[in-house]
Symmetry: C2
Subunit: 366 residues, 2 copies
Amino acid sequence: MDENPIRFGIIGCAQIARKVSRAIGLSHNSTVYAVASRSFEKAKKFALDNKLPDSVKIYGSYDEVLEDPNVDAVYMPLPTSLHVRWAILAATKKKHLLLEKPTALNTSELDQILEASRLNGVQFMDGTMWLHHPRTPKIKELLEDTKLFGKLKSIHSTCTFYNETPAFLENNIRVKPELDALGVLGDVGWYCIGAILWATNNQLPNTVTALPGPIRNESGVLMACGGSLTWLAGKEENDQEEKVATFYCSFLSNVCLDLSIHGTNGTIRLKDHIIPCKESSASFEFTSGAHFTELHLGWTVEPKKIEVVSEVPQETAMVQEFARLVGNINHGSCPDDKWSENSTNIQIVIDAINKSLDLGCKNVDM
Amino acid sequence: MDENPIRFGIIGCAQIARKVSRAIGLSHNSTVYAVASRSFEKAKKFALDNKLPDSVKIYGSYDEVLEDPNVDAVYMPLPTSLHVRWAILAATKKKHLLLEKPTALNTSELDQILEASRLNGVQFMDGTMWLHHPRTPKIKELLEDTKLFGKLKSIHSTCTFYNETPAFLENNIRVKPELDALGVLGDVGWYCIGAILWATNNQLPNTVTALPGPIRNESGVLMACGGSLTWLAGKEENDQEEKVATFYCSFLSNVCLDLSIHGTNGTIRLKDHIIPCKESSASFEFTSGAHFTELHLGWTVEPKKIEVVSEVPQETAMVQEFARLVGNINHGSCPDDKWSENSTNIQIVIDAINKSLDLGCKNVDM
């Protein structure tokens, strides 16, 4: 443990907070300092259930965490509709902000959160964990290898899971319009879009289109939907290449976390993109320079599996990176804007998919 | 070798004819009886290059094959624009028809070919090889397992290959508007759409949409494009489920033959769908009943690899099945309509994608 770990206040006791509080505990440069729920009892129960140390402060309101001068940063897994209020308040109280995704109901709300973060000099990061897995930069390295991978041409992401319990589909916050109006698009769709933008070095597409046939629950919240993103070729030499991406996200289909990225000379394929099958390591498949053999009877090169070992779980890596940035700020650095740019672009594409859906799946030019 | 093998006439000496003539030779119930090109010399060279037996007749025109009473069936790998003329003529001459894909430039032309086949009682089959690989029925068996796989929800297919030689992109028949006006959509797009329809038991979608950003060569022929297919839920109990499929096909990207099929309880994933990496066996990945572990730290079940051994190459299996059907007809059976229905539905979807492209990627209701 570092000498001055970043002291986290956890605001909200959602299921995901269990995983992240464990990660904060596992991280060498952070510690869980306080937990708040809307009632003291719920916060207490969360602390007990998750075996948090007795020293952790238990608060029966979010305000108390924000008023505590010993809290350096907050982790906020509240329902999305509450983000704009509480995240801005946290920033105003100079608390660094690890905000669960989707970061806001729309870009305008996120802009307000980011503006408050900027004005108050606090670090912003959304809770996307897979970006912090060591597999991710390893893949990026290959994507940027113009010889092995070539130029990026197409991407597909499918992120789905299925929870048979009617309780999930009827009562989970992710499917309630007043809590998480973005539904599956904000939940696992966030990862699909995030992966696509990550692969394109955060380049916004020229056109965003929702696929026909979205599925909504009785309250109108999206349960399954898909979309496409298109980048047109630039007119100048060295401008962007034309690229196409498609994604599909669903609460109504078996666990599937596929990501495949196709270049002129290589293919990268992950089957457990957001949550690796196991914590200790994660793999992907890479094919480079494959051709068909004589008479097209087979392939000259078969896809090969590349395994990447994790020293810590990906959510611990996320917390460590966030705490490292906060530590840097405590020593005079500026916040790192990379993370707010990432989140903003995802939120912009989510807005465009929703606009396309509203227009009957027409193309939305960006 | 069977006692009375089906005697094939090969009409056209395209590259693919080398693979199929080998398959006809390997098949226990067929034999290469004649080869025709537009010139005797080209046909002769093809026979020599491919080590066809000396007994094989060499013809310098397609008509001669069709007039030869000893030819039972023709394999026709001509440029697509020539199919309607020569396939109808072949049927009229009572030759059974193994027609290379895309079967025609549009549904109307294919209908004429199929009508001629029906009127003359000849068997029709297009040259899609993967349908005849033993992996294919094995996957179908799992797809139909309502417990292991559940209900089909989404499909994605990427079929691309890249031929660096400028000769391909400029001169190959697949990119010339007067020869193969469908370009990549008729070539590898045929497989994407075929796989999607196969997985849905040949159910036509309600809506077909082209993805924005298709790439065309200077002659206007498609070099890369994508699309989505949507099946809406039926109004009655037991009607079709809503489903979504996307595909991407390209002549401008690395060899990639991905097919993934997602159900409520299972996922099936192939990475060498159309042409298996090797001839002797082919694999796919199957995940069934996977959930996230406690705290979503991993998966309860990892995808497993299933290997299926091939007794003969898939194109040999195709020829054997075609020859078997022809043999049945010779013994009094009717032609099997399944194959013409398959081809028709693919051709209908190709027409719809082209219509959507013409309309600026608007949704086309079927």
